[in-house]
Each structure stands twice: as structure tokens, then as C-alpha cells.
């Protein structure tokens, strides 16, 4: 049955960017992910929907190699993440953006230094002028050009999220993993973040996995929705498909 499903996904859409097969991850007796399958197609916004504590963060941390899966494989751009050397993994990570739920801005550095940090460490040949231009472009993308000399502690929740988004985008990743980008923000700011996500998606032609349990966010950003339940990909489809679903587990999310 699993195989049938995978084959069907292959037919439905172009090139795969991320393929996850039979992913298992436990912490002691807590089996968080249990034979989880997923496929992210090129240029697609895929939302992974799931209740708090269902293992959504664990899933994307496995994709980027912060957590090591117990079983199963994760293929990103044709590379099996588990089999890469330290150096190869670092190189792969420059192609993947990761927006932390907590933003994870470096709080001892200014906004500018936060954005420069990944640039300076990967693109050594850049001149100061090029670095400045890229930092300004990244800040303009999120409409926060004036904050470059501020410290992260001085930013409001919404601003910090936008700066974190700018930092995530600065190496021009091809894939972006968003961990609950709108959780904890007021509805107006949440809508702003969503429109930024869509704007950057169009501008840089990225593929994204967006983790969320905010139905507005799901509705506004998703090309496709996958529902994570009991460590498995319970079902998937367009937002409208799931909204119409008669399945009681799916319905819970739309109440």
C-alpha cells in the first residue's frame, strides 16, 4: 500500500526535492515518528499539519540532520542525508533554509551581523560592498531596512520573525523548512508573515515545507497539505480536499 501511494505521488507532479521513506525516530519509549513517508516536489509549498507534540519539529530536524533517524531514509536533492560526511552535510545545509520556531537569532550580534554570519562563512570571495548589498536586499525583502544596527532583544516578535526569515533566505536556499512561522504572533502579524512567505517563494522559486497548526496559515500558504498523526503521514491532499473530508481525525483540525 505504501508503495502504491509513492508511485501515485511520482505521477502527480514533477521533480522531487525531498523524499522521505519509512522514517522512524524514538526518544526512549516515546515513538515520535513511526514509518513516516513524504515527498516534497519542486517549487511546492507543502504544509505539514499536526497537533502540538506530534513530532513536526522532530521531522524537519531529521531532514536537516540535527537529529539522526533511527530507521528509514531521507533523500534531499538525491543525497541520503544520513550517509553524508560532515563537510558534505554542511554544503547541503547551505541549500536548505531553516526557520526556527524560536527564531534563534544570535543575541550577542546586531541584526546586520546576524545576516552577515552565514554569508561570511560560506562565500569568502565576496567584497564588503557585495556583502552590504546582500544584507540590504535581505532586509528590504522583509521591509526592515532600518533595523540593521539593532540588537535582537530590541525587536518585537513579528520583527524578529521577519529578521529570522531574512537570515534564512540570505544564502538563497532552494528549500526552506518553516517551523510554525505564525505561532505566537497576533493575527495581523501572522498574515504579514504568510504574505512574506508567498512573496519570497515567488521571487526565489523555492520549495518549502511549512509546519503549522494555524488553519489560516495553512489555508493561505498551502499547495498541498500532509497530516501528521501517530507518527505517520495520515493523509494528504489539497486544503479543499481535507476540508471536505468526512474522516473524524481530519475534521478535528477544521473545527
Amino acid at each position: 500500500m505504501e508503495h502504491g501511494q509513492t508511485a501515485e505521488m511520482n505521477d502527480s507532479n514533477g521533480e522531487a526535492v525531498i523524499v522521505i521513506n519509512g522514517l522512524c525516530k524514538s526518544f526512549g519509549n516515546n515513538h515520535v515518528l513511526n514509518n513516516f513517508n513524504l515527498r516534497l516536489n519542486s517549487k511546492e509549498n507543502l504544509v505539514v499539519l499536526g497537533r502540538s507534540g506530534s513530532g513536526k519539529s522532530v521531522l524537519i530536524k531529521c531532514i536537516i540532520g540535527l537529529l539522526k533517524p533511527d530507521d528509514g531514509e531521507i533523500i534531499v536533492f538525491g543525497n541520503n542525508v544520513d550517509e553524508l560526511s560532515h563537510h558534505e552535510l554542511d554544503m547541503l545545509r547551505t541549500e536548505i533554509g531553516f526557520l526556527f520556531q524560536s527564531n534563534a537569532l544570535y543575541d550577542s550580534m546586531t541584526v546586520r551581523e546576524n545576516l552577515e554570519f552565514p554569508l561570511r562563512r560560506h562565500w569568502f570571495e565576496l567584497s564588503q560592498k557585495e556583502v552590504d548589498d546582500m544584507v540590504m536586499e535581505a532586509l528590504d525583502n522583509v521591509n526592515l531596512g532600518h533595523t540593521s544596527e539593532m540588537m535582537p532583544a530590541e525587536l518585537s516578535g513579528g520583527m524578529a520573525k521577519r529578521i529570522a526569515l531574512a537570515r534564512t533566505m540570505i544564502l538563497r536556499p532552494k528549500v526552506i523548512l518553516y517551523d510554525e512561522p505564525t505561532t505566537g504572533l497576533d493575527p495581523i502579524t501572522a498574515r504579514e508573515i504568510e504574505s512574506l512567505i508567498l512573496k519570497l517563494h515567488d521571487k526565489y522559486q523555492t520549495s518549502s515545507i511549512i509546519i503549522s497548526h494555524d488553519m489560516n496559515c495553512v489555508k493561505n500558504t498551502a499547495d498541498r497539505v500532509a497530516l501528521l498523526l501517530d507518527g505517520k503521514c495520515y493523509t494528504e491532499g489539497s486544503f479543499e480536499d481535507l476540508e471536505k473530508s468526512e474522516d473524524e481525525h481530519v475534521k478535528q483540525f477544521f473545527e
Binding site: 554542511d90 531553516f98 524560536s102 537569532l105 554570519f117
Partner: protein
């Protein structure tokens, strides 16, 4: 928790810490090196600790002299005061007190800094941006700490001896030259070298313990506080253990 579980916990902690330290020699020795961050850390760890180390060093020398004086007067050997104070400071008090101050200031600040970076996912953020956080954060701090403490100790010794000179002059007049000539004539290679070498180990212990505790901090404010606190406690204990080992080793090598 019963004694068996406690022992097992202690053993596994020791194992984790040994592995953490081991990474310094496997991962940390591979280029590229984080030279710029190393210099920043030398500045923070070394230069910024100077005022504190100087102040405590000065008081230590002054007080030690004033405390020793009555006993020496009692035995009629007060002329030996500079020599006694000099040896005490250079061999033992200077290195150990400076290391303890260093543990309180640097060990705790490394523990708290890395701890809060850990719990706010900044260390993970560094890792996913393709920078090895162990090399960037840990290796630089440990090398800087190991190299800066000996320098700080030498300065503390010098200032401390100056404090001792003032202490001697409170109740008797000695010339600056005579005071230092007396000390330098009695100090031997075997007094200075072991004391100097052990300060590298002190610096290493304080900074690696701080990094380890911070890096393995638990979530929450309590977690960060705990890691700063246990960094100081554990590194202070290590300082005394290393001191004990050092005195044994120097005795075996016949340097005493």
C-alpha cells in the same frame, strides 16, 4: 536515587565529558580554524579579566604579608618576610587564587552564554547554517582560556608581589630593590616552572568545563542557571585536583 544509580550516572557523565573533550583533538584540530573568533575570545577572556585579577592579586599579596608578619616577628625572622611571601605567592597562592577567580568569572560566563545559546536553539541555528558550532564556540574558548590564564597568573603574581612590598613597608622600611633582590635570589627554576605549567591545565579545565556544562544545558532559565553554577563548582574542584596532582608530579620529578 540509590547509590548504584548515582554511581552509574556519575560514570556516564564522566564518559560524556571525556568524549566532549576528545572532540577537541579530533574535530578541533581540523582546518579551517576560527582564528578571528579565537582573537575575540582572547580579548574577552584575557583582557576583560585583567582589572579583577589585578585587584585580587594586589589584596592577596598585601594581606598575606600583614598576616604573616606577627609570626615571623615572634620567631625573630622578620627579615625573611619577603622570601616567605614571595615563595608562597609564586608557587601556590598566585596560581590557585587566580584560577579560582577565573573559574568564577570566565567559567560561569561561558557556561551561561553557551547554555542560553543552547536553549534558544542558537547552537542549532549555527549548525544548520553550515558552521560547526563545536569548533566555532568550544574550541576557540578552550584554546583562549588555556593560553590566557597563564598570562593572567603572571600578572597577578607580579601585582601581588608589589602588594607584598607595600605590606612590608607598612611597618618597616625596605627599598624596592632590596625587596625584589631578596625574592629573586631565593626563587628557583623549580619554584617557577611547575607553577607556570599547571596554570595551563587550570585554564584548560575551567574553559572546557564551562563549555561542557553550557553545551549540555537543560531547557529553561533554571537549566541555564544550573549550568553556570555547576561550571564554577566543578571547575573549582578540578583546580584543586590538578593542584594536588601537580605537587605529586613535581615531587617525583625532583623539582621540589
Amino acid at each position: 536515587m540509590d547509590i548504584v544509580a548515582k554511581t552509574r550516572d556519575f560514570m556516564s557523565q564522566t564518559g560524556y565529558m571525556a568524549r566532549f573533550t576528545g572532540q577537541l583533538f579530533t574535530l578541533g584540530t581540523k582546518p579551517p580554524y576560527e582564528f578571528k573568533e579565537f582573537l575575540v575570545q582572547c580579548y574577552i577572556i584575557g583582557y576583560r579579566s585583567l582589572p579583577l585579577v589585578a585587584l585580587t592579586g594586589f589584596i592577596m599579596g598585601l594581606v598575606l604579608t600583614m598576616q604573616l608578619r606577627p609570626s615571623l616577628v615572634y620567631y625573630g625572622v622578620q627579615s625573611q618576610l619577603p622570601v616567605m611571601v614571595g615563595i608562597a605567592i609564586v608557587r601556590e597562592i598566585g596560581p590557585v587564587i587566580t584560577a579560582l577567580i577565573f573559574a568564577g568569572k570566565i567559567g560561569s560566563s561561558i557556561g551561561a552564554e553557551l547554555g542560553s545559546m543552547k536553549v534558544t536553539e542558537q547552537i542549532d541555528a549555527m549548525e544548520v547554517s553550515g558552521t560547526n558550532p563545536y569548533k566555532y564556540l568550544v574550541a576557540t574558548r578552550v584554546v583562549a582560556g588555556t593560553l590566557m590564564l597563564p598570562v593572567l597568573t603572571m600578572l597577578a603574581d607580579a601585582i601581588s608581589l608589589f602588594g607584598a612590598y607595600i605590606g612590608v613597608n607598612i611597618s618597616a622600611v625596605t627599598s624596592f630593590k632590596l625587596f625584589f633582590m631578596q625574592i629573586l635570589r631565593t626563587l628557583e627554576f623549580g619554584d617557577v616552572l611547575p607553577a607556570f605549567i599547571k596554570t595551563f591545565f587550570f585554564g584548560f579545565a575551567v574553559s572546557i568545563v564551562g563549555c561542557y556544562k553550557g553545551y549540555n544545558s537543560n531547557k529553561g532559565t533554571r537549566g541555564v542557571g544550573n549550568s553556570a553554577n555547576s561550571a564554577v563548582v566543578l571547575s573549582s574542584v578540578f583546580i584543586f585536583i590538578i593542584d594536588l596532582l601537580a605537587v605529586q608530579v613535581t615531587a617525583i620529578l625532583g623539582l621540589n
